[in-house]
């Protein structure tokens, strides 16, 4: 048990400030536990999101000492014994109140993506897909939509290019569809144009913050960039497509 100092951003879309709280921290606690204690004891109206408290739902994303993190998976013993812990909302999205921000832009991006479209009718016993063929798709489907990658992506964070780039989360969503063994849709044109695959310059910041350890850049974004290049900039492929009508690589 020890007393720890927390600086928590309190405010709304009109402005706010950091307020200081002292909280008792017990063994094994994570940042979210301490925030809950502060909320229950002295700041009943402290706004924050959380659900599962086990790193499975991606609700409690925030910036802790400047780093985008899930507060439920950030243990108090990962800080120095006297370190002050500063907590603020994700910077990339507009604040609603305190640690809660408006992430609706992400839901809009998801809706723009053409849905999964398997061949119909479905075989009686279901689609035949082998484990080795779904492994890479399953990696992307581990995503818990915490949006930490969106928060840290400098294209949308620092340059506010939300109109031209969907961000890492939706690049891997697109990758999970494009690499799905039985999907028949072609999304390469919009991956290049509307979704802005060229905007990413592979700094791998998104991969670094992913709590699910998804290899976003190397396994998702780069292969998509390659498919775009093959389609639009590879003369052999262009001729091949014209001759044989090949639309999509598996």
């Amino acid at each position: 048990m020890s007393k720890r100092t927390f600086r928590i951003w309190r405010g709304d879309n009109k402005g706010g400030e950091f307020k200081t709280y002292e909280a008792t921290v017990d063994q094994g606690m994570v940042v979210l536990d301490v925030l809950h204690r502060i909320q229950a004891d002295e700041a009943n109206d402290l706004a924050l999101r959380w659900n599962c408290k086990a790193g499975k739902c991606g609700s409690c994303s925030m910036e802790i000492n400047g780093k985008p993190k899930l507060s439920c998976m950030t243990r108090m013993n990962s800080f120095g014994p006297d370190e002050t812990i500063t907590v603020q909302p994700l910077k990339t999205f507009p604040v609603i109140k305190d640690l809660v921000c408006d992430v609706s832009w992400n839901y809009q991006q998801n809706k723009r993506i053409k849905p999964f479209s398997p061949p119909k009718p479905r075989p009686e016993k279901g689609y035949v897909m082998y484990q080795e063929d779904v492994d890479r798709v399953q990696e992307f489907r581990k995503c818990i939509e915490c949006y930490l990658c969106q928060d840290t992506c400098h294209v949308i964070r620092d340059r506010d290019e939300k109109a031209t780039f969907v961000g890492p989360r939706f690049m891997i969503r697109l990758a999970s569809l494009e690499m799905h063994p039985v999907d028949t849709e072609d999304r390469i044109p919009e991956i290049r144009k509307e979704f802005g695959s060229g905007m990413c310059n592979i700094t791998r910041c998104c991969t670094e913050v992913c709590p699910e350890h998804i290899n976003i850049t190397d396994n998702g974004i780069i292969p998509l960039k390659e498919r775009v290049v093959d389609r639009y900039y590879d003369p052999v492929a262009i001729i091949g497509r014209k001759l044989f009508g090949i639309r999509k690589r598996s």
Partner: protein
């Protein structure tokens, strides 16, 4: 405060689905397919509902791993696991329809783990005769919710996120709308609708040690009660045998049954595999009685019987409690769950990645090298709103319930894996049920303004008071009393004590104060949801007091053993003129064929001697 109902925002839908977990999303997709204007409200953001935490898998007799499986054996397992208190027709519908619902998910984008033949793989779980759970590692719930979400957003459904339902509005006896508020702004909203589908889950947040998130406050159960619906079997609250016990901040967090399904065993402080000492006579014929046989089963010997660690959850939870009570517990009051000494590290990491991650990050335990400490945690409500098995309609016309907040499928105890399949089977049926009901309406019901205004006034009271009880403190008191008096093992005196405590807490709830404004104010949200929790807790306690036997998840120390009489009755709770009424109600007789299948010897079912042409 002068209020005018016309100033409150109004949104029109044919049907409003309350809750966006698996059942709510599946129901909404069906409503939309039935050409209804469909809205979904959810307390959290889309994709964050409690379904996301389900780990092990969804049960469906696909027969992909063991071709001997079929709906009859799934049905029989479900009835036996539920100690024959299940609604027979629901258990039948569930077992028959689950395979098609699971395959349909694949059509909507779900990517399950595969068999060598490239089909959906299935894993073993407690109480299931064969490997039956379609799964994705140990994150099946995430796969389910994301598949439904990503499919659902293209079906013309209106999703209203971070919106909490407060009251069901009625025109006479029929559903006419739902009053809610936006969490973001604190403003109120009236959804005018012809039917409402509750998909709000249970009320595990009334206990101290629980696997449930903040959302699990029994809102749907309480709203249904207030609207005059009947609730059933509320005394059956499942304590999952394996929750984390250390450190204190994660006490209760779920440890999937998949650990045991994949070979994990339970040990006490003496290193004994104690589950062999707790095999009940009912399951003796189908459970291994030696370590040697259990090991053969794990290696795939089809003639070996299942290890006792895979008995149903009620049995395992009680056994762990008994071991701890006898002084053979682990250092932090649980028992040991060991998979490290039994399965290679790389296999554990592949099959149970989120368990590995969870223990590593939260408890600093490497489950590939050392055992976990686990103990029971409040997990699931078998009871809920009483519904018609085929349409999922409650006793209030136009009010439907699906998933955990509905009652019937699981009887006295739910089998692991039957929850996710419950969501998709009965979510769809609720959607069809609502569509049929709406087609039969001759006029559109109108929500009365006075009810809307009364609901708004009631909700804003905690904000308007100058001072009062801290809602978090009140919630703590509730969990204290439920944990100590209405836990895994129950006794009359303690249940009566709980009722006294609840009466006092109800009084205190009248003076609860939420400081701050209405905009995204968790203290206010807590103050509102505490009412649902208190009502839910009271229904559980009164039901537990009335049911004088021990069956499934409900154990009465003063009434040990299952009683021949009580299996013929459900306990019904509803709102009466003078408060809560609890009634013992006779169950209808089961159809002869279902009865025969449920009680058949497994060999006779497999050979087709029983139910061969069903």
């Amino acid at each position: 405060m002068a209020l005018d109902a016309s100033e409150i925002q109004t949104i029109n839908h044919d049907v409003l689905v309350i809750g966006a977990g698996g059942a709510g999303l599946r129901a909404a997709i069906e409503c939309s397919a039935q050409k209804l204007s469909t809205g979904v409200i959810s307390k959290s953001l889309l994709g964050k509902a409690h379904t996301v935490m389900a780990e092990g898998g969804m049960a469906a007799a696909l027969g992909n791993v063991d071709s001997r499986d079929n709906w009859k054996i799934h049905f029989r397992d479900t009835m036996r696991g539920g100690k024959f208190l299940n609604v027979w027709r629901m258990a039948e519908l569930h077992a028959k329809q689950a395979p098609e619902r699971v395959r349909e998910l694949e059509e909507w984008g779900a990517v399950f783990d595969r068999t060598k033949e490239g089909l959906i793989s299935q894993r073993n779980f407690g109480g299931h005769r064969y490997p039956r759970l379609a799964h994705v590692g140990d994150r099946t719930g995430l796969e389910l919710i994301r598949s439904l979400q990503d499919h659902g957003v293209h079906q013309g459904i209106d999703f209203h996120m971070e919106c909490t339902a407060l009251e069901l509005l009625k025109d006479g006896d029929r559903i006419a709308g739902v009053l809610g508020y936006w969490r973001e702004t604190g403003r109120f909203v009236v959804f005018k609708c012809k039917a409402a589908i509750l998909a709000t889950g249970g009320g595990g947040k009334a206990w101290k040690i629980t696997s449930n998130s903040w959302e699990y406050t029994g809102d749907g159960l309480a709203m249904a009660y207030e609207a005059g619906a009947e609730l059933m079997d509320m005394e059956f609250t499942q304590f999952h045998p394996t929750g984390m016990v250390w450190p204190p901040s994660v006490r209760g967090t779920l440890v999937t049954e998949g650990v045991r399904g994949d070979g994990g065993i339970l040990k006490n402080s003496k290193g004994e595999r104690f589950m062999f000492n707790y095999i009940p006579p009912k399951f003796a014929a189908e459970t291994a009685d030696t370590v040697e046989e259990a090991e053969r089963w794990l290696k795939g010997d089809k003639n070996a019987r299942r290890p006792p660690e895979l008995l149903t959850r009620d049995e395992v939870a009680r056994s762990i409690t008994a071991e701890v009570k006898a002084g053979r517990g682990s250092p932090h009051g649980g028992v040991f769950l060991d998979i490290a000494s039994r399965v290679p590290a790389d296999v554990i990491k592949r099959k149970l990645p989120s368990m590995y991650h969870q223990f590593k990050e939260l408890a600093e335990v490497d489950i590939t090298a050392e055992p976990m400490e686990v103990g029971p945690t409040c997990h699931y409500f078998m009871g809920g709103v009483r519904v018609d098995a085929d349409s999922q309609m409650s006793t209030v016309p136009g009010l439907f319930a699906a998933g955990e907040c509905g009652a019937g499928l699981h009887g006295a105890n739910r089998l692991g894996g039957n929850s996710l399949s419950d969501l998709i089977v009965f979510g769809k049926l609720a959607g069809t049920g609502a569509a049929d009901y709406i087609r039969g309406l001759t006029k559109t019901p109108e929500a009365p303004n006075d009810h809307i205004l009364a609901g708004v006034r009631r909700a804003t009271e905690p904000l308007r008071r100058d001072s009062g009880t801290n809602p978090y403190v009140l919630h703590d008191k509730l969990t204290e009393t439920m944990q100590s008096n209405v836990g895994i093992v129950r006794i009359k005196a303690e249940l009566e004590k709980a009722l006294e405590d609840l009466a006092a807490l109800n009084k205190e709830a009248d003076s609860v104060k939420a400081p701050g404004a209405s905009q995204y104010n968790p203290g206010w949200h807590e103050a509102i949801s505490i009412r649902s929790l208190l009502l839910t807790a009271e229904m559980v306690t009164r039901g537990a007091l009335m049911r004088e036997e021990s069956r499934g998840a409900h154990t009465r120390l003063d009434h040990p053993g299952e009683s021949e009489e009580w299996v013929q009755y459900n306990v019904i709770s509803k709102k009466g003129a003078n408060g809560m009424e609890v009634e013992k109600r006779k169950r209808p007789d089961p159809p002869a064929l279902l009865k025969e299948i449920a009680h058949a010897k497994i060999e006779d079912l497999e050979s087709g001697k029983v139910g061969g042409d069903a």
